[in-house]
């Protein structure tokens, strides 16, 4: 779900960077407002690397297998560090695996990073409740994971299909967006369930991880 180099017009790539810059600035500003921002950097960095590694886990979905995007889980665990973490993760993927692209880094960061921040806000609503049972954590984790990938898919399809150099008529374009979005529904459910299960696991094993950053 990463847009590679060469597909989008240069103006859209520039707009992607222009949109990603203020979100990065806002995230960095919120991080710097913390009591000891430097203390959180190693945690956020190693967790960024860990997310990168966890996304290599194959989830069987016959006849093939899928890799999870995990931007919802990133938002749940990393909070405002999620956007810089995704920016770095996408940069690594573009440089090391030629997955995504350098000119489309800003666009891809918006596609993956904004939903991660939405997930953070969704999961933070859990704090309103006094009792944080495993079921509640699992449900909030599911919604956060499902919503993140859902928004990412929608952004990806809209940006790709409205900018691809094809003179598709409006009806065809809309049908393509709906069909492809529907095709991603199983992935959204898997991401939601996986995020919920990891959130429950972390609550049982290391609850600080859900509240520390």
């Amino acid at each position: 779900m990463h847009i590679p180099d060469g597909i989008l017009p240069a103006t859209v790539c520039a707009a992607g960077y222009a949109a990603a810059a203020p979100v990065t600035w806002y995230s960095v500003r919120r991080i710097n407002q913390r009591e000891n921002p430097r203390a959180d950097i190693p945690k956020a960095s190693l967790l960024t690397a860990a997310f990168f590694v966890v996304s290599w886990i194959h989830i069987p979905l016959p006849p093939t297998s899928v890799h999870l995007v995990l931007n919802g889980l990133l938002g749940v665990v990393l909070g405002y560090f999620a956007f810089p973490a995704i920016l770095i993760g996408l940069f690594f993927q573009a440089v090391m695996f030629q997955h995504g692209g350098l000119t489309t880094l800003g666009v891809n960061a918006i596609i993956m990073g904004l939903p991660a921040l939405v997930s953070y806000y969704i999961f933070r609503m859990r704090n309103i409740l006094e009792k944080k049972s495993q079921l509640i954590t699992g449900v909030f984790g599911f919604v956060a994971g499902f919503a993140a990938i859902g928004i990412s898919v929608a952004l990806f399809l809209v940006i790709l299909l409205t900018n691809i150099p094809a003179e598709l008529d409006v009806a065809t374009e809309r049908t393509a967006i709906y069909t492809l979005a529907l095709a991603h529904l199983p992935l959204m459910v898997i991401e939601g369930v996986f995020t919920g299960l990891v959130a429950v696991f972390l609550q049982r094993v290391r609850p600080q991880l859900l509240d520390s950053i």
Binding site: L46, A49, V53, I88, T103, I190, L197
Partner: protein, 253 residues
């Protein structure tokens, strides 16, 4: 999964010797100029410049071919679909499908732009150690939080990858096989992912203490890490002129 980013970073070529900040600015300008190109007539020049840069870098062709493996699937989808979906001018009918001229032109533009940007990107990040390029980005003004995070994350990617590999091997030795999606199987994989997160979190506490002991946050980073020579500046100006030439050429043609 082993990362082989720095495999050819120690070769000797003019691009390996180019000062990292100048190289970063020059080649990124060229990459964005390539993304600007919309005219078919500019493509041979783009391919020639790209091939020349790759040849000067002395990176092996096999390196380029292996790096094409991941993105080639997406490219294949574009090449197969776009000529039949895009445009009005049908130049060849294949049953119910029509091969369209505008779609073919789009495919050529996308493919060449993609390959040229990918190749210049490979030269940019393959002709210097990855950490040196990140330091150059920091020297060019990238926020400290981003560079610190990138350096630390890169440092621990291989180790965490090895952790995952060991844990997956242990699971297989204990009989875990998953050929179809099941709730239990997904739960086990979620625990595997969660364990990696917990391990990295615990390790980060040790890392932070080690960094504090070594003065993290107290001393400013050295400012004269890179030395620019006249040759570096000349190479930067030439690359800039080539990049401007592509943008101007595309507008004027």
């Amino acid at each position: 999964m082993k990362l082989e980013q720095d495999k050819y970073a120690s070769l000797d070529s003019p691009l390996h010797r180019w000062e990292p900040r100048c190289k970063f600015v020059g080649l990124v300008a060229l990459i964005f100029a390539f993304s600007f190109v919309r005219e078919l007539s500019m493509l041979p020049a783009m391919m020639t410049v790209t091939a020349a840069i790759y040849a000067i870098s002395r990176l092996p062709v096999s390196f380029w071919l292996t790096r094409l493996r991941y993105p080639s699937f997406f490219l294949l989808v574009v090449v197969l679909l776009l000529p039949f979906l895009s445009g009005q001018t049908v130049i060849l009918s294949l049953g119910p499908l029509g091969l369209r001229q505008e779609g073919l032109i789009s495919v050529m533009l996308i493919t060449v732009r993609f390959l040229c940007i990918l190749t210049v990107g490979l030269v940019l990040f393959g002709t210097a150690p990855f950490l040196t390029t990140i330091k150059a980005m920091r020297a060019l003004g990238l926020p400290g939080i981003l560079t610190d995070m990138a350096l630390l994350a890169f440092r621990y990617l291989n180790e965490l990858g090895d952790d995952l590999h060991r844990m997956e091997t242990s699971m297989r030795l204990r009989g875990f096989r998953q050929h179809r999606l099941s709730r239990r199987g997904l739960g086990v994989l979620a625990w595997l992912g969660g364990s990696i997160l917990v391990r990295s979190y615990e390790r980060s506490e040790w890392v932070y203490r080690a960094m504090i002991v070594r003065g993290y946050g107290n001393a400013p980073p050295p400012r004269d890490e890179f030395q620019v020579s006249a040759g570096d500046v000349v190479a930067l100006v030439v690359t800039f002129l080539v990049a401007i030439g592509f943008v101007a050429g595309d507008i004027l043609i």
